[in-house]
Structure formats: structure tokens, C-alpha cells
């Protein structure tokens, strides 16, 4: 929570701006640099590649936003990946062989269900006083189990219109990148605006920053926790719907769930959200989500084999975090 700085006009100079927006800008610049590099490496870079990157990064971006909202409010949700596969499984079962109108209704229903379920998780955390990480470690198993109950083996399906809504074409591959870009930016900017400008959004920042101070200033911190988990659940469901639209069928493997969860945590930290809560933004987390996704096509375009690419990806994350750690340390020494 940096907006509440007391002080004179002199405080609002470039250093403050750099501190406030520096990391965010850095991540976006990194993303642009990666894309430019990618475009210059492969023989032809056109609308097909843009569409492919935009739509395939959707699930991770939505999960990063989900995790960011929850972490900013002072929690952490290890079950976002499970929520993704549960929504994916439920939607794939209900949308199979249905008309476009019905699939849209199902989508809304699935998002509401995920929000309610995750809101309940938030409620359990605030009532039981058990740490977030422990409760969601348990729900990681429970929700993944539910997903497996709903969809025991890969299958199900959705309507062509619904696939086009996220990917721009009925088959999931094509050159029309506008739907994917709209799906990428509209929810992201919506969430960012809500977090920074609505009363509830600001209460999430306040709660994550200092729960006691927030409570004493009249913020309903229990409600903030529940709201953050509900919104996170809704975004995780969006991720599940997006991956259904991309692949055209449902899947509910536990490995997918835990993998997505771990990536979402990496994305938000890379995106400048502090795991201690109260600091960071949804926009930065979303950009980091795209960066994490784009790394693999970039490395494969460079001729790096997938296993080495994974090693490089891990090392890069550590390197970025080490640099951040040193910057933070120097800032503390200077202060």
C-alpha cells in the first residue's frame, strides 16, 4: 500500500514513481523484449503467432490474476490449479454437444460455482485461524478429487462458438487474434481497476498490508479474506474455461493442478507481488504470466531442447529474484 504516503509535493518525484511502477514497467518491457526477440528469431512472425501466444497464455494469466488478488489480500491459495481443473471438468461435462447459448450460461454458472466454493474456503480460513497455506494445501487435494469425480477420464467438449470466444476460431487454431487479446486485457484491466479504485478492492490491499491496522480502521477483514478468495476462484474458473476452449476437451489430472499452482506462484512473485501481502498489482502478475508462457516458444525457436529449456527457465526465475533481492537489500542499506 504505497498510495497513503504523507508528505510534500517533493515526494512525488521520479524516484517515488520508479519505486512504485518500476518493477511493473520492467516486467512489461521484459515481455516486449522477449516478443521482439522471438519475432526476429523465427522466419515469419504474423497474426498466427500473435493469436497462438495470446490464447495459449490465457490459462496461466487468469491463474496469475487469481493468485495475485488472494496474495495481495494477505493469503495464498495452493488450490488455484485444482480449481482450474475442476471448472474445466464441470464445464466439459455440461457443455458437451450443447448450443452456444447454453454453453455461455454454463460458463457463467461455473464461474459462480467456483467463486462460491473458493469463498467458502476463505470463510474456513478466517473462522478456523489455520494458516492459508495449510488450508489450501488440503483443498488442493479435495478440489482435485472432486474434479476427478466429475470427469474420471479426459473427455467432454464444448460448442464451436465458445471455442471461438476465447481463441478466435471454432477449431482453436487460427489467425484471428482479437478475441484472445480482448479476453486477455479486458478481465485483467477490469480486475486492476477494481483492486485499485473500488472500496472493496482497496480493503483487500489494506488487509494484506496490515490486518490489525485495517481492522482497527473499520475494515471488515474477514469479509476481505472471503471476497479475495471468491474473486480468485472466479478467475481460476476463467482459466479452466480458457483451457477448455483451447483444447476442446476436458482433463482432470492432479499433476496439471499442482503444476499450474506452482506456476501461478512463480508468476505473481516475478510480477512484483510481495508474498507478505499488500504490495503489487494484478497487471504485473498478468504480464509475468505471459512472460513465463512465452519463454518456452522463444527457447524452442532458439533451438534449445525442452529439457534444457526447463533448466534455463528455472535458472532465469532465480536470477531475476536474486537481482530483486540485491536491489531490495541495497535500498534497505541506503534507507
Amino acid at each position: 500500500m504505497t498510495t497513503a504516503r504523507l508528505g510534500s509535493v517533493r515526494d512525488v518525484d521520479w524516484r517515488v514513481a520508479l519505486r512504485r511502477y518500476g518493477w511493473n514497467t520492467g516486467v512489461w518491457l521484459l515481455l516486449i523484449a522477449l516478443l521482439v526477440f522471438y519475432a526476429s528469431t523465427i522466419p515469419s512472425f504474423g497474426s498466427f503467432q500473435i493469436a497462438s501466444i495470446a490464447k495459449n497464455s490465457l490459462p496461466l494469466v487468469f491463474l496469475a490474476i487469481a493468485q495475485a488478488v488472494i496474495v495481495i489480500a494477505g493469503g495464498i491459495d495452493l488450490a488455484v490449479g485444482s480449481m482450474l481443473i475442476l471448472s474445466n471438468a464441470v464445464a466439459a461435462q455440461l457443455m458437451d454437444e450443447q448450443a452456444f447459448g447454453i454453453t455461455l450460461m454454463v460458463a457463467v454458472l461455473v464461474i459462480l460455482m467456483a467463486a462460491a466454493l473458493n469463498g467458502a474456503v476463505g470463510w474456513v480460513i478466517s473462522v478456523s485461524k489455520v494458516p492459508d497455506i495449510v488450508v489450501t494445501l488440503a483443498t488442493l487435494f479435495i478440489i482435485a478429487g472432486l474434479a476427478l469425480l466429475v470427469l474420471p477420464s479426459p473427455g467432454g467438449g464444448t460448442s464451436d462458438g465458445f471455442r471461438a470466444l476465447f481463441t478466435g476460431s471454432a477449431t482453436g487454431t487460427g489467425t484471428n487474434f482479437w478475441p484472445a487479446l480482448v479476453m486477455l486485457f479486458v478481465p485483467m484491466l477490469g480486475a486492476a481497476w477494481w483492486m485499485k479504485h473500488s472500496r472493496t478492492g482497496l480493503s483487500l490491499y489494506a488487509t494484506g498490508s496490515d490486518p490489525t491496522a485495517a481492522y482497527l480502521s473499520g475494515v471488515n477483514t474477514a469479509r476481505a479474506k472471503i471476497v479475495s478468495y471468491a474473486v480468485g476462484g472466479a478467475f481460476a474458473a476463467m482459466g479452466g474455461l480458457a483451457s477448455l476452449a483451447i483444447t476442446g476437451s476436458g482433463e482432470s489430472r492432479f499433476a496439471t493442478a499442482s503444476n499450474f499452482t506452482l506456476k501461478s506462484v512463480a508468476a505473481i512473485v516475478l510480477g512484483g507481488v510481495a508474498l507478505t501481502g499488500g504490495i503489487g498489482s494484478v497487471v504485473g502478475a498478468a504480464a509475468a504470466g505471459i512472460v513465463l508462457f512465452v519463454l518456452s516458444p522463444v527457447l524452442s525457436a532458439m533451438g534449445v531442447d525442452p529439457n534444457t529449456a526447463q533448466v534455463i527457465q528455472g535458472a532465469l526465475i532465480v536470477l531475476v529474484m536474486m537481482i530483486a533481492g540485491i536491489v531490495q537489500l541495497r535500498r534497505e542499506r541506503a534507507a
Binding site: 494458516p131 479435495i142 478429487g145 476427478l148 512463480a266 532465480v318
Partner: protein
């Protein structure tokens, strides 16, 4: 426990006496849960209440308990290790690769892999202040990539371990009654319990988790403590991986992946705080045994994987809630 929690110095007289007693002796609660679970499993499958039935549970719980030991040590400092699963797998691979050269070399080199990976984790967390979640997560993904690539080249065909390791991980003695890995686990447990309680290093782990700033101001070089702690965690994870390879008899990339989250769960159920400074290894041992019995019970129930996951998660949640309720600390 009472050594670490400050609130309990002043007894709350509004509570009944037995709840105060229980909150001072949380291990009694865990022990009772364990006994109840064993009895319930015995009702489901009467054959379970025999030497061989209980032996199987211990055989299952020993690698988990050792891995949870790594988790306990780090959670005391306020950290966590999400790379234990991959460190264990990597160590098992190296041990399998070196098996033709004799058990001593195989085990030593396997353990060294764990120490090396753990030390890198420790340098990242201790020196560069990288968040432990991210550092160990990245380590895990580095190891996955590295060992997938190596399994096609240098480590190709290294899928079985030699007889000594198989016996150590899966065999039993005294007329097939006591598993060898239980013996290893007991030794490790005694060392960890003693180390945490009576050595300066052990007390530093608690101090770091309780108040890192105060510990630093008291003149402790936190980064050194953290590097050693993470290296130790790597060593324990590697040991668990080698025992696991001995038990299953074959090494693959999925060997220990499913042990990561249970290792955290065992420490949490055992009352170790994820925020650091509170917890004991004896609690973790009971936590690992509880999870072992639970796994056996779910196998006997013949439930599908989905139901197993739901029950498993619910019990972890229920126990954590119960623990927070009984002890007033979380």
C-alpha cells in the same frame, strides 16, 4: 512446545483444566488420533492389526517421515522446501547409476547430490534473500529438466539399485518383523530431535524463525545458518529418495513427486508452524505415521483415486483445524 510459545506462560483460567493440559501436551492428541486411525483400519480389515500389517505402514511412513524432517527443519526457520521430491528422485537416480560400484559409493554420491542442491537453495535463500517458495520451486524445475535430459544420456538404463540398497529400503529383519528403513528412520529421528533441542544450531533455527531481526542483531550470521539448514534438508531428502528407490526397486522420474505435499502435511499435522519458530520433530514423526495409516486405510477401502484425494485432504484440514483449536497456536 511450551518452550516456544509465549502466550502459554499465563494460564487462561477461563478454560477447563483438561484443555489446558492438552494444549501443553499436543503429542497426546496426535497419539490418540493415530491409535484411533489404527483401530478404525483394523475394523475395516482385521488382518491389518498384525505384525505384517503394521510393518507395511511403517515401511510406507519411513521415507515420508525423513522427508518431512527436512520440511520441519526449514519450516522452523520460516522457510519451506518444494524441491524435496525432485532432490529425492535425483539422488535415487545417481545411486542407481553408481550401484555397480558398490553400495557405499552409490549412497555417498546420492547423498552428495542432495547436499549440493540443498546448498544452492540455501545460498539463494540465505545470501540473495530469494523467497524460499520461489527458490525451491525453481530448483525443482531445474532438477526436472536436468534429470529428464540426463535420463536419455548419462543415466540411461540406471533404473535399478543394488541389493544392499534394496534391503535397506524394503527389507526387514527379526523374522520379517522390523523393516530396516524403520531403523534408519529411528536413527535420523533421534539425531534431529537431539539436534533441535540441545545443540546451538538447533536453537538458532528456532530463533531465526521466531524473530529474524532480533537474531541478526544478536550477532548471528543468519545466512550461514540458512545455508546449513537447506543443505541438511537436501541431505535428508536424498536419504529418503534412496530408501524409496530401495523399496520400489525401480527408479523413474515420478519416484518421489507424490511425496512433496504429504511431507509438508506431515509437518503441519505434527504442529510445526508454517511461519517458523514453533514445532518439534516428534510431532512430525506422529504426523508421518498418521498419514501412513491413512494411506493404508484408503487402500483397504478400495476407494477410487478421487475419493482417496478428497478424504486425504479433508483429514489434513480437519487435523490442522483440531490442532489450532486444541493448542490455540497455529
Amino acid at each position: 512446545m511450551s518452550l516456544e510459545s509465549r502466550e502459554e506462560m499465563v494460564p487462561d483460567i477461563s478454560q477447563p483444566r483438561w484443555t489446558i493440559w492438552l494444549s501443553d501436551h499436543p503429542l497426546v492428541v496426535l497419539g490418540s488420533v493415530l491409535v484411533v486411525l489404527v483401530l478404525v483400519t483394523g475394523v475395516i480389515e482385521p488382518n491389518y492389526l498384525s505384525v505384517s500389517g503394521l510393518r507395511n505402514t511403517v515401511l510406507l511412513a519411513a521415507p515420508l517421515g525423513i522427508m518431512a524432517g527436512a520440511q520441519t527443519i526449514l519450516m522452523l526457520t520460516g522457510g519451506i522446501d518444494l524441491s524435496v521430491g525432485m532432490i529425492a528422485t535425483a539422488a535415487a537416480y545417481v545411486a542407481a547409476n553408481q550401484s555397480p560400484n558398490g553400495a557405499l559409493i552409490a549412497i555417498t554420491l546420492g547423498l552428495l547430490v542432495g547436499v549440493a542442491a540443498g546448498t544452492v537453495n540455501g545460498i539463494g535463500v540465505g545470501v540473495f534473500q530469494v523467497n524460499p517458495l520461489i527458490m525451491t520451486l525453481a530448483m525443482s524445475s531445474i532438477l526436472i529438466g536436468l534429470f529428464t535430459a540426463l535420463s536419455f544420456t548419462v543415466l540411461q538404463g540406471s533404473t535399478t539399485v543394488n541389493d544392499f540398497i534394496s534391503t535397506l529400503g524394503g527389507g526387514s529383519f527379526l523374522g520379517n518383523r522390523i523393516p530396516y528403513n524403520a531403523l534408519v528412520w529411528t536413527g535420523v529421528s533421534l539425531l534431529i530431535v537431539y539436534g533441535l533441542r540441545y545443540t546451538g544450531f538447533g536453537r538458532l533455527l528456532y530463533a531465526l524463525g521466531d524473530n529474524p531481526v532480533a537474531t541478526r542483531l544478536a550477532g548471528v550470521r543468519s545466512w550461514q545458518v540458512l545455508i546449513v539448514a537447506y543443505a541438511l534438508a537436501g541431505l535428508l531428502a536424498a536419504l529418503a529418495g534412496i530408501l524409496l528407490a530401495g523399496r520400489t526397486g525401480a527408479v523413474d522420474l515420478q519416484l518421489a513427486v507424490n511425496f512433496l505435499l504429504p511431507s509438508v502435511a506431515a509437518a503441519v499435522i505434527g504442529g510445526t508452524s508454517i511461519f517458523g519458530g514453533i514445532g518439534t520433530y516428534s510431532g512430525t514423526v506422529l504426523g508421518a505415521l498418521i498419514l501412513g495409516v491413512l494411506a493404508t486405510m484408503l487402500t483397504f477401502l478400495n476407494a477410487g483415486q478421487a475419493i482417496q484425494q478428497i478424504v486425504y485432504g479433508s483429514i489434513v484440514l480437519g487435523l490442522a483445524w483440531l490442532y489450532a483449536r486444541v493448542t490455540g497456536v497455529s
